[in-house]
Amino acid sequence: MDKLLTPSAGQTHLLLGNEAIVRGALEAGVAFATCYPGTPSSEVPDTLYRLRKESPDKVKYYFEYSTNEKVAMECAAGAAVGGLRTLCTMKHVGLNVAADPLMTLAYTGVNAGMVVLTADDPSLFSSQNEQDNRFYARLSGLPMLEPAGPAELKAMTVYGFKLSEELGLPVLLRTTTRVNHARESVTFAPLGKVKTKAEFKKNPFRFVTVPAVSRQLHLKLLKSYEQAQAISEASDLNPITGKGKLGVIVSGVSANYVQDALDDLGAKNQVKVLKLGLSWPLPEKKIVKFLKAVEKVLVVEELEPIVEQAVKALAQQNRLDLPIAGKGPGLFSRAYEYNPRLVRDVIAHYFGFKYKGTTALKLDDTPNLPGRPPNLCPGCPHRATYYAVKQVVGDQAIHPTDIGCYTLGLLPPISMADFVICMGSSVSSSGGLNRATGKKVVSFIGDSTFFHSGITGLINAVHNNHDFTLVILDNGTTAMTGHQPNPGVDTTAMGDPTTHIDLEGVVRGLGVTHVTTIKPFKVRASIEAIKEAVDHKGVSVIISKEICPLFGRRIAPKSRKPFQVNLDKCKGHLDCINKVACPAMFKEEGKARINPLQCIGCALCAQICPENAILPVKAEG
């Protein structure tokens, strides 16, 4: 049995932050969980999915990968209004998609604990922006918890359900990559009892948000906000530690950097620290008291100066004129994550402490290092699709693309990604780009992304008579974020009792008349089909259907049949290497070579080679 399912209290394990959320939810007796995956949140749903699969008799919660974050939020809202303890997880940009239901769910409130995880990604390790989702607490009026590490993350998940029930509101749990993806020792409390059925009492004056009702509900939310603020004032999640006449106000993972910095600087007796764990509503009275007890304050918060500005406003209201700083030259930046040295340096500089740390090496004489960008895997079907499309449209078409493994088609030699802003934007922006430029537009979207938010864009395109070709890269999984299922996936191999939705049927149902499904490793046939689609006036769709081999091998292991280059036949054109950049290939003495440990035998290069020099290893003998 998995350690996370240990029923009793007492054991201590080294848990990933995201595993700590799962344990916390289990200790709180979570009964319902929804998500849309996205780094750095994905291990939460993936762990819930795995536990349910591995130990169906031990696990009592319902879990689903929802179609997108809005759907996840609404499905979770139904369960929480229906009286079940509910967890809903997503990455930071996912909350943009789910913002619409969230804002009004704050009005209706919930009938059982509901925790919403928003996992931010300062420094954009795997995201399209680094927006600061602490703003969503301010925007929605909902309370927010901000853990500094995995142990707190577990504790705050448990507390989040309790707080949610106390207030009758969903609670936002806001993490950052360094909290989700840190490991530390976490001590278990017993697993909670799970209530799996509840009763929904109809109450249109609370749950049907017509204007007349919502006018009242808004006032009620403002009342709840006051109640939440009183809780925040008294909460031991907002502790003051240390002593002295200098002050630091801090939240999130930075609290750890501050602790270490004060240790290194030997300044524990000169600096008081107010840590904001229940960071919204702000404990204003506590902050004012803190300001009155110190002479100078530094606010340490990654990304936007949200707390800093609030603290400055409080100081002004209370006629306090002590220096308060956070962002600015010589201090902190609004971009990127912080680190221990940066925080130590800024604290030392701002308060005038001396510290002699290690010096950086002089590295300006480092030899030029070859880059190591991520690349599509050997045998990735996306590479074959890109190759075929390029044979048809050359470099002349515009390629709106989308978010997934296939975004790596950005890199040379493929270079077929021209515009992407968010999931689904490939489809909707295609019409705009085509009408603005009159140019041929061939856009790309993955299957998971198509179900997530491509469908509405495609309906729009058909309805408004746009003119472009959409290529749906149907690799049967959500590869980028760790191979989660999506509505188009046939999950029978995985033993899931879900219904598989036929992509081609959906596309036809949306009114697209020119739809062709291709097998991208049949290069010649694919090129023919793409040619016809591109020549079609209006919206045409190509579904390029081939399983992601990394995923395919995991669900149904089979042996690889690598290819090799016949060096007598190879004339050194190197088309194979230069046109598709498969990582299993390399150049030696002017000829192409294939690393048999990496090649999975997709045969794309064999079809590109004008000399027919690339053959299966066996056939060569």
């Binding site: 500094a148 993806h181 840190a182 221990p340 740390g357 090496l361 030899p367 960008p373 690349n375």
Partner: protein, 197 residues
């Protein structure tokens, strides 16, 4: 307890995250305060993978520039790339077997000469332990056990507060049955290679 800041760097698929996780678990078992951090995401697709293990009581999960006490690198070019984390007292343990990135294979960029790379690192940092760890992994009969080889080397020269016995126990507990023997062998070979250094 003195804080030890250890950075592991390698290429997707080399098992660097597992090495950090296992070291973290061994520390926990031995009662040594520990935090580990990982960056997931692009790991599967051949990019650089970095993780950190902080032993001895630091709360921060990451290691800043010029503050690594130990760097364990799975690939020589990545050793060069991560030297910004080193200072002149840093102990660097590196595998010397190149795993050229694709940019080299297609002739976009040259791969630095291995001996010169090693010489360069030696000049910059306090102590360098460099050997062909991949060869030892192959000798241990699990080509994917480079992470175990490097853990062995780390235990030989890193003066860690975690007993070797505890580390081996964690390796045993967390390896698939059929790899236990090879992984422990790989650990020992790495240990010997570094201890003689």
């Amino acid at each position: 307890m003195k804080t030890q800041r250890i950075v592991n760097v390698g290429v997707g698929g080399q098992g660097n995250l597992l090495a950090s996780n296992l070291l973290g678990q061994a520390a926990l078992e031995a009662g040594v305060p520990v935090v580990v951090s990982e960056i997931h995401g692009m790991a599967q697709r051949g990019g650089v993978v970095e993780s950190a293990v902080l032993l001895g009581g630091a709360k921060s999960p990451i290691v800043s520039d010029a503050e690594a006490d130990i760097i364990v690198s799975f690939e020589p070019v990545e050793t060069l790339r991560i030297l910004n984390k080193a200072h002149k007292g840093t102990l660097v343990i590196t595998n010397t077997r190149p795993l050229p990135p694709f940019t080299v294979a297609i002739g976009q960029a040259p791969y630095p000469k291995p001996d010169e790379a090693i010489k360069f690192i030696k000049k910059k940092v306090g102590r360098l332990v460099a050997f062909d760890g991949q060869e030892l992994a192959e000798k241990a009969k699990n080509p994917l056990s480079l992470n175990m080889v490097l853990l062995g080397a780390l235990f030989a020269v890193g003066e860690l507060p975690v007993p070797v016995k505890t580390m081996k126990k964690m390796i045993k507990q967390n390896s698939k049955e059929r790899f236990v023997e090879a992984n422990l062998k790989a650990f020992d070979l790495g240990f010997q290679a570094a201890a003689g250094n």
